[in-house]
């Protein structure tokens, strides 16, 4: 297959080669869709290696980073190429609740989702519920992923669910919560759709939710 070198560079997490190849192919007039397919295939192979215990989290995270950088190179072409854009499995909005500055769990989920073919919007840490609700209105995500590491901040997730309901958006979006002090019972208690026990579980739950939701 053509683009095998790009697939390999992605699978190997070789940033230098991957970005150089993306530039080269773009300059030579290769189709954006073909380049995107190669990038996605490389990420998929990397994900498979991770599942087999042959690749590790830093490689997965770095693979996602390379993909995002490659997308920046391709963006001008994507806008001119019309519908050549990669069809994402779904759109996920990720954030850590207000008062909480921890982001490692959230960032891991983002990496798994990116590698898994999702479009992810990361609002960062210490995100007020108002900002989250606003972002749901503008971004229209399929899923909101909300993280909290501390017993002191997890209550913010309950407030968010309340605000989501009051703003009339509850039926428009699925909500998954995660973080060390949380549990399925907590997700049930606050009315979230799912609880991600860890990053892999979080991604799997999102897969399952969107499948049932008519996506994925």
């Amino acid at each position: 297959m053509e683009f095998n070198d790009l697939v390999k560079a992605m699978n190997d997490c070789n940033q230098e080669d991957a970005l150089r190849l993306v530039r080269n192919y773009t300059e030579k007039g290769a189709g954006v869709k073909d380049i995107l397919d190669a990038l996605t295939e490389g990420l998929r192979e990397l994900g498979d290696r991770f599942s087999r215990g042959e690749a590790f989290i830093p490689e997965l995270v770095f693979g996602g980073e390379i993909f995002n950088q490659a997308m920046k190179i391709l963006e001008p072409k994507i806008s001119t190429a019309g519908n050549n854009q990669r069809r994402a499995k779904g759109k996920v909005l990720m954030a850590t609740v207000k008062g909480d500055l921890h982001d490692i769990g959230k960032n891991l989920v983002i990496s798994f989702l990116t590698v898994g073919g999702y479009q992810v919007i990361d609002l960062g840490t210490d995100v007020p519920n108002e900002k989250l609700v606003e972002a749901i209105k503008t971004e229209k995500p399929d899923v909101v992923g909300l993280s909290a590491l501390l017993t002191t901040t997890m209550l913010g997730q309950r407030d968010f669910m309340k605000m989501l309901k009051e703003s009339g958006l509850r039926d428009k979006v699925k909500v998954i919560v995660g973080g060390a002090p949380l549990s399925q019972a907590w997700a049930d208690e606050i009315g979230a759709d799912a609880y991600g026990a860890d990053a892999v579980d979080g991604k799997n739950k999102i897969d399952a939710m969107l499948k049932n939701f008519g996506r994925g």
Partner: protein
């Protein structure tokens, strides 16, 4: 009597000084973020620190850190929960094992590997067991699910007071929770005029690695100092994820985070009690978990404690927690590794007894097992090696040889065997095979289960002043009413 207490120094003085110097440089050059608390920034600014109000980043000069280090007490005396009896000191050469308050599940012996949400009865049992654990010095109540989450911090604190006299390792989860806890402590120390010099609790405060403090944590930390509650600065850097992947890089970052806590603590209260903590952990690159019993985690926490001890501040490490999902072989050897190294390296507060699965799950059986592991570690370090002339026993060896006598018949054996040998049990089995067979081939886990059942059946709960009990219940109930609770579960038992 000349007793030598074994000690392990993981790094020499020159390396420790370099780590501290690196941490000073980081705080001076890029600083550390204290987010969302103006009072805290005012205090830093008032002390001549460079403060960026917009980002919350403060930059600390070496002089300010040096000044703060001068007034942090090196020893903290701990009292029982009623603030009456001095139990032990923490700091310098004094090391102690503590329970842990982070668990959100409990595992039952009858369903190995499974877990459920703890309720009032579980906390009562656990606190009563801690009251009887000879080698554990602090208790720590866990998450309870039979009251609203908003009051669970105060409710568990109440239960733990009612059933265990040991000092508590416990946090509040909001400003309201903290103030209620403070009110409760005053009632516990009923009539005691010198309460602030007789601490009976410690409160953990977790900066968010790398180099950030969140608003709630800053507030709780300053409130600890204001109310003379010994405050633990306890960052939890994950090597390779929220700190450098290298062991010493993580130690440098944790040191910088702790030093910022040292400065803030002494700005709030000169001479205020502070504990230099670390929950530094390896980061499992396969599963994304934070294995706190990995040998690298133990190395980092022991090293960070040694930096704290070098600076003359009592230290704490999240040691003793196992990553195993069951109280099994992995659980025991991981805890034993942690305790032994923790004691040898003089981690003053060794935090984690009775825990499974990254400290998310409590187990009564594991507590019983850990108590005996702690006993072994204490024998090694606290008991030490008596190197006196009498202990070397040259005359005795000659005498026994000359008389062809058994040492079992010597007065020397009779006088010293209890001092020299720790007598474990009932968890550690040193009995004969016939006794083992007669017992029904029981494992350590089986014996641990029987041991705690026996304690609960045979030992009476500690006596509590009825008036004080009612006053404490009333405080928590009053807070509970805001969340629809008219009667606390403890009142219906």
């Amino acid at each position: 009597m000349m007793v030598i207490r074994p000690k392990v120094q993981l790094l020499g003085e020159a390396q420790l000084k370099l780590i501290i110097q690196d941490a000073y440089h980081i705080l001076d050059d890029v600083g550390i973020r204290f987010k969302g608390n103006e009072e805290c920034l005012d205090r830093f600014e008032g002390a001549g620190t460079r403060v960026d109000r917009e980002t919350g980043i403060i930059k600390l000069s070496g002089d300010i850190i040096d000044e703060a280090l001068k007034t942090v007490p090196s020893i903290i005396p701990f009292y029982d929960k009623d603030h009456k009896q001095h139990l032990f000191d923490l700091g310098e050469d004094h090391c102690h094992v503590t329970g842990d308050g982070v668990a959100i599940y409990i595992q039952d012996y009858e369903k190995p590997g499974h877990r459920r949400q703890p309720v009032t009865e579980d906390q009562i049992i656990h606190s009563r067991l801690l009251e009887e654990c000879q080698y554990i010095s602090f208790t720590a109540p866990f998450m309870l699910y039979d009251v609203p989450r908003e009051i669970a911090d105060n409710y568990r604190f109440l239960l733990d007071y009612l059933y265990c006299s040991l000092p508590t390792y416990c946090s509040a989860w909001s400003k309201e929770g903290f103030d209620t806890m403070d009110e409760m402590i005053k009632i516990m120390g009923d009539g005691e005029s010198d309460l602030e010099n007789k601490p009976a609790h410690v409160h953990p405060n977790n900066p968010s690695s790398p180099l950030s403090w969140s608003p709630v944590v800053i507030q709780n930390f300053m409130d600890c100092l204001r109310t003379s509650l010994p405050a633990v600065v306890l960052p939890i850097p994950l090597a390779g994820a929220t700190s450098p992947v290298t062991i010493v890089g993580t130690v440098v970052q944790n040191t910088a985070e702790n030093l910022s806590g040292v400065v803030l603590s002494q700005l709030v209260k000169k001479g205020g009690y502070l504990i230099w903590g670390s929950g530094a952990s390896a980061f499992d690159m396969r599963s994304g978990t934070a294995p706190q019993s990995a040998i690298e985690s133990i190395m980092m926490m022991c090293l960070i404690a040694q930096v704290g001890n070098y600076l003359g501040i009592p230290s704490l490490g999240n040691l003793g927690r196992t990553d195993s999902k069951r109280p099994d072989e992995q659980g025991s050897f991981e805890t034993a590794n942690s305790y032994l190294l923790g004691y040898l390296c003089r981690v003053n507060m060794i935090r984690g007894a009775g825990f499974l699965e990254y400290a998310s799950t409590i187990s009564h059986e594991k507590l019983m097992i850990d108590n005996e592991i702690a006993g072994q570690a204490q024998r090694l370090v606290n008991g030490g090696i008596d190197f006196s002339e009498e202990s070397r026993a040259v005359d005795l060896i000659k005498e026994m040889f000359t008389k062809n006598m058994s040492f079992l018949r010597s007065r020397h054996t009779l006088a010293n065997f209890k001092k020299e040998f720790m007598m474990p049990g009932p968890i550690i089995d040193r009995g004969t095979r016939s006794a083992f067979e007669a017992s029904g081939y029981k494992s350590a886990l089986d014996r641990a289960h029987e041991a705690w059942k026996k304690i609960i059946a045979e030992k009476k709960p500690r006596p509590i002043d009825e008036k004080k009990r009612n006053a404490l219940i009333e405080i928590v109930r009053a807070r509970g009413r805001k969340y629809g609770v008219d009667r606390l579960p403890i009142e219906t038992m």
